[in-house]
């Protein structure tokens, strides 16, 4: 229920929302949790395993119980304590059927004695096959949290980078004070806080700072910081991980709190923040007490009760009892009493506790049971040896405070136990460049936090060479007194981990079964393995483990906290990678005219290249491909080859450099001529091939294959920088500068001469010539090279003219019965000629294997030469490049099929090779294949059996020379 005149909510702005279909009203400034409590809704979910009725336990991101699905965007597992209320919000409870109050699977709770830790491992062992088919699906259906929506996620996510001198994580008293100190000194500051309202506990408590309430002081600090240019405030931003070199991951909730976000507004933004220094001011989290039946709706942490009262103006019950082991818990009773809420009792486990107030006080007492099926009704208190019933619909418990050490553990730092506060504090220098201040390192008074924030900021700034001054206001400094209280013995289950349903009994059982290491206990019981990462249960569970194993808590140790601090959606981490963000698209200059011709595109690396150019009446790609092959062989074809890598190489030592990277010699190449070259890796295997043209004495242009352009460039840099640093040579990619088109076929020269300012003939431009030309008035380059085996050229113009030239070339070709051809035809044409691509030079073949060992010059050294001469790499028994033709009834060849002797069984050990490329040759009217076969060059004319085990195809083949068509090369020179 609401409490009059309390809280930071805006009562002038009521907000309607629904929960499980019922309508409620809250106010601006509410969280979904506070609004539900204001409407006296206590039952908000069912537990993971036992389907126990559960209520709101906390008021922060550590919430284990109040996980809901926000149906507006079908987002599961949203913590109601974090979700800000907005107009029209619609939430649904999870893990129940048919309804939250009457959940059929709450039968699990009756089975609890049989479902304790280790139950699955022991029970579902037999029969073995049942695990995957029966048990696991059943268990998975019974257990669980929210369900994922399987439709496409329409929400936008963003990622962004930020940089600062000082990153301050958490905007409570320590964080605000640190930010003020650093901001006033002029440092670049980022202050990130997971809450929408900065101030941390100050907004939830009734402390005074100087002459102001804590809430007012926090608001004033935030407005001072907002006015500073050098300070960036990042509310709703959780720093989720600490990484190397001062890098932090942070998740900003950008639109979760907006009723109707703008179309382009991302839902979340994942920040990568690089900070010279960071100060962790993440505060601390209150821990529950493991007393019997401590999980009923209405039982929550004491600090949460104060948050709901002081920040949201909500009393979470009509009659509230308080149970704790420390003085801090008493503040809850005082705040409630001052607000006029009935305090049913204050129960303090310490016999010597001092509590003054107009309410019943039981010191040296324990809560030993509770009642209330769907919400707390009564608590059973043992006091002075007697049991007494206290009527309460809310119990505020406090087992002490745990500093929020999580980020300091992200690089394997182990927190250190401090007896005085019965808690772990961060180890020093656990994260390089990260300091810890305030409650996060166990300083629990407001005054202490303010001073520590300021002092730490001054130190950090001093490290950075910035002078700063601490100017700290006065505030309370109540000593924090606490006695151990971990688990209360008694009948009934005492929950440690609410989210994974782990009880004190489970931990004890783990120890009894010799899972005594904290890491083993964790995995055996699943304590701390839920989405809250054990924030509420970790210390309690290991205290129980320490107790039953007869060890001290520090000796027992902790498990490891890993990123993220709180859950991060995969969509946020992958932001920017959705749809076309996955990878850049590279388009050739002829893309538009190709699309206009309805050419389907095929990806080649990042490039998009046309597969074929369909003509009216053609039903299949094969028809188009066959036509294009015939067109090139009989008339002329045009193909965009701009995607091939082009590297401009200049310098007095350019020739020497090329001789070293290529197996063959380029220093002897005449200016105005082109040569085919083969390049090896250092290990002697073939890396790439291509043609290189000599444009001047000290000037070459190398072409690479499309796929290996980047690799070859990197290789050249490596060779130059590391192996031949003294060579006076420079190179740079010019792939993007030139639009280059193959013009191939008997009429190629006719097409070109229609466009060249100065026509060419066979004498002025013989096979393998190159030179500068003018194409329709534009300076360009012409290379007489051929990847089709036909009389062919490649003509290049600056890229801005690419589209125009492609259109002109196509028009000229079409006038002669030709036209454009795509990748499919290009592939068939080169297979007919036995030219290799990366299907053959796939990284596991040598020059010897592809029949090019004579291209490795004996007269000079080159990269890979020595290694390629290793005995194992030149054996006749190696698989060598061969051509394959169908020779039996089956006419199909399939790339990837393996080769066997005709009579041999088609099993792995009998494999003699494999097929790398196939195509149907309209020229020769049969399938042709290239492949590798043991001792293949000596076996031309033999028969082998190709078997594709996946497709179930078996074809008898004739082994032949890989050059099927025009082996003399007469057509090239014609």
């Amino acid at each position: 229920m609401r409490v009059k005149d309390k809280g930071l909510i805006n009562r002038a702005v009521p907000l309607r929302f629904t929960f499980d279909g019922r309508h409620y009203e809250g106010f601006q400034g509410d969280t979904l949790a506070s609004a539900l409590l204001a409407n006296d809704v206590r039952l908000v979910g069912r537990s993971f395993k036992y389907h126990r009725p559960r209520g709101i336990l906390t008021a922060g991101s550590e919430e284990p119980n109040a996980l809901m699905t926000i149906t507006d965007r079908a987002e599961p597992n949203v913590r109601a304590t974090v979700q800000e209320l907005y107009q029209g919000l619609s939430a649904k409870s999870q893990n129940n059927w048919p309804s939250l109050a009457r959940d059929a699977l709450s039968v699990n709770d009756l089975m609890a004695p049989f479902l304790s830790a280790g139950f699955y491992y022991k029970t579902f062992m037999w029969p073995r096959a049942f695990w995957e088919r029966v048990y696991e699906p059943l268990i998975r259906r019974a257990a669980g949290l929210g369900a994922l929506d399987k439709t496409h996620n329409p929400d936008l996510y963003e990622k962004a980078y930020a940089f600062c001198d000082v990153l301050i994580i958490g905007a409570g008293p320590a964080g605000l004070m640190a930010a003020l100190t650093a901001g006033r000194a002029g440092a670049r500051v980022i202050l990130a806080d997971e809450d929408s309202l900065m101030g941390g506990r100050l907004n939830s408590e009734t402390y005074q700072i100087g002459d102001h309430t804590g809430q007012d002081w926090a608001a004033a600090a935030v407005s001072e910081l907002t006015a500073m240019d050098n300070v960036r405030l990042m509310p709703r931003t959780t720093v989720t991980g600490a990484y190397d070199q001062g890098t932090y991951g942070a998740l900003e909730r950008v639109a979760h709190h907006i009723a109707k976000p703008a179309d382009d507004l991302p839902l979340e933004c994942f920040w990568r923040i690089v900070a010279k220094r960071a100060i962790l001011c993440a505060g601390s989290l209150e821990r529950p007490i493991a007393f019997p039946m401590n999980d009923r709706p209405g039982i929550m942490t004491a600090s949460a009760v104060r948050s709901y009262l002081n920040r949201y103006g909500v009393a979470p019950g009509k009659s509230i009892a308080i149970y704790g082991n420390n003085d801090n818990a008493h503040q809850t009773a005082h705040d409630l009493a001052a607000a006029g809420v009935k305090v049913a009792a204050v129960i303090d486990s310490r016999a010597d506790a001092q509590v003054q107030g107009d309410f019943p006080v039981y010191t040296g007492a324990e809560v030993i049971n509770t009642t209330g099926r769907l919400g707390l009704e009564e608590i059973l208190v043992r006091h002075n040896g007697e049991n007494l019933m206290v009527n309460a619909d809310c119990l505020a418990m406090s087992g002490g405070w745990n500093p929020t050490v999580h980020l300091t553990c992200h690089m394997n730092g182990r927190p250190v136990w401090r007896d005085g506060i019965l808690a772990f504090v961060p180890a020093d220098d656990a994260i390089p460049g990260l300091s810890v201040a305030g409650a996060a390192r166990g300083i629990f008074s407001t005054r202490g936090c303010l001073q520590d924030g300021a002092k730490t900021a001054v130190q950090v700034l001093d490290d950075l060479g910035v002078k700063a001054q601490a100017d700290v206001p006065e505030a309370e400094e109540t000593p924090y007194q606490i006695s151990p209280l971990w688990a209360v013995p008694g009948k009934g289950r005492a929950w440690l981990d609410f989210q994974n349903d782990v009880t004190v009994k489970d931990v004890k059982q783990a120890a009894a079964e010799n899972f005594r290491s904290v890491e083993h206990m964790k995995r055996y019981t699943t304590q701390g393995m839920a989405t809250d990462q054990g924030k509420n249960s970790n210390v309690g569970a290991l205290a129980v483990l320490a107790d039953v194993t007869g060890r001290a808590i520090p000796e027992t140790g902790t498990t490891t906290f890993r990123p993220p601090f709180s859950p991060v959606s995969i969509a946020a981490m992958g932001a920017g990678g959705q749809g076309k963000g996955f990878a850049p698209e590279r388009f050739t200059t002829s893309h538009l005219p190709s699309i206009q011709r309805a050419a389907p595109m095929i990806e080649a690396g990042l490039w998009y290249r046309p597969s074929y150019f369909p003509m009216p009446g053609e039903q299949t790609w094969r028809e188009s491909c066959d036509r294009e092959v015939n067109m090139v062989r009989t008339k002329v074809g045009i193909c965009d080859v701009s995607t091939l890598g082009k590297i401009d190489i200049q310098g007095p030592d350019a020739a020497e450099f090329l001789d070293f990277v290529y197996t063959n010699t380029f220093s002897t190449l005449k200016v105005g001529r082109v040569r085919y070259g083969l390049m090896l890796r250092e290990d002697g295997y073939v890396m790439d091939d291509g043609t290189t043209a000599r444009l001047g004495d000290h000037h070459y242009v190398m072409t690479t294959t499309t796929a290996a352009a980047g690799q070859v460039m990197r290789h050249l840099e490596f060779v130059h920088q590391c192996l031949k640093p003294k060579l006076n040579v420079r190179f740079i990619s010019v792939t993007e500068q030139w639009a280059q088109f193959a013009v191939a076929g008997p009429r190629a020269r006719d097409v070109l001469n229609a466009l060249l300012d100065d026509p060419i003939d066979n004498d002025s431009f013989p096979f393998m010539a190159c030179g500068q030309v003018k194409v329709a008035g534009t300076p360009g380059r012409l290379f007489r090279i051929s990847f089709s085996g036909e009389h062919a050229y490649e003509v290049a113009v600056p890229a801005r003219y690419g589209e125009s030239l492609f259109r002109l070339l196509c028009a000229q070709a079409e006038a002669m019965g030709g036209g454009p051809y795509g990748m499919e035809a290009l592939n068939v044409l080169r297979i007919e000629k036995g030219f290799v691509t990366h299907s053959e030079i796939h990284g596991r073949t040598t020059a010897f294997d592809i029949g090019a060992e004579r291209m490795v010059s004996a007269k000079k050294d080159c990269i890979g030469k020595t290694m390629a001469a290793r005995p194992g790499l030149i054996d006749d028994d190696r698989e060598q490049l061969v051509g394959l033709k169908p020779a039996g009834a089956v006419k199909q060849l399939i790339a990837g099929g393996h080769l066997f002797a005709p009579g041999a069984e088609a099993v792995r050990v009998n494999s003699q090779g494999y097929v790398t490329s196939v195509g149907y040759s309209p020229t020769l009217d049969c399938y042709l294949g290239l492949g590798f076969l043991k001792n293949g060059r000596a076996r031309h004319g033999e028969r082998v059996k190709m078997v594709d085990h996946l497709k179930g195809v078996e074809t008898l083949c004739e082994v032949c020379d890989p050059v099927f068509f025009d082996p003399e090369g007469g057509r090239l020179r014609g």
Partner: protein
């Protein structure tokens, strides 16, 4: 006599603006890469100086609108709108006029757009006017130069112009939507 028709990389894609920021294509008369040969740095620097645009140091750009010399990576300078006269024999000079798409991002909050795409600290106090970097825009290699208080020139391979525009459009819309 037929003539070839020129088309710029971002033709039909730019300009546009969202919120306070606009993105437009920049067309320089020429782009030329200059890589001084061994021992010729000084001689090349002298040519630059004589031409009125100092040779840029690593991470710097010199010149003015329409005429810039931009550090372009190890041992490389990109002349944008500047002639390469006098460099013959001193440096490898390569025409790159058509290789790159050049765009200008301009307006209040321009750095907020780049903070979504570029993993570098481009704050005005760190990455000042005349500073340049070879870095990445999302997955694309890029050259970024701050040419004014709220102005950046971004250079990307021309074949990726569409992706460049697409990425900027998303980032610009998202930033505009936050205001």
């Amino acid at each position: 006599m037929v003539k070839l028709v020129a088309k710029t990389p971002c033709e039909g894609l730019l300009p546009f603006s969202y919120g306070t920021v606009s993105l437009s294509e920049v067309t320089y008369d020429s782009l030329t890469s200059v890589a001084p040969f061994v021992g010729k740095n000084k001689a090349v620097a002298d040519v630059f100086k004589a031409a009125g645009t100092p040779m840029p140091a690593v991470g710097r750009a010199t010149g003015k609108d329409g005429q810039r010399a931009i550090w372009f990576g190890r041992g490389q300078i990109l002349l944008a709108g500047l002639t390469e006269e006098g460099l013959e024999g001193l440096a490898a000079v390569t025409d790159q006029s058509d290789a790159w798409a050049v765009v200008r991002l301009e307006g209040e909050n321009a750095d907020a757009i780049l903070a979504r795409l570029v993993p570098l600290d481009l704050d005005k106090g760190v990455f000042k006017r005349g500073h340049t970097a070879r870095t990445q825009v999302q997955h694309m290699m890029a050259s970024i130069t701050r040419t004014g208080v709220q102005t950046f020139e971004i250079i990307i391979m021309q074949s990726m112009a569409r992706t460049l525009v697409h990425e900027f459009e998303i980032a610009m819309k998202a930033v505009a939507a936050r205001r």
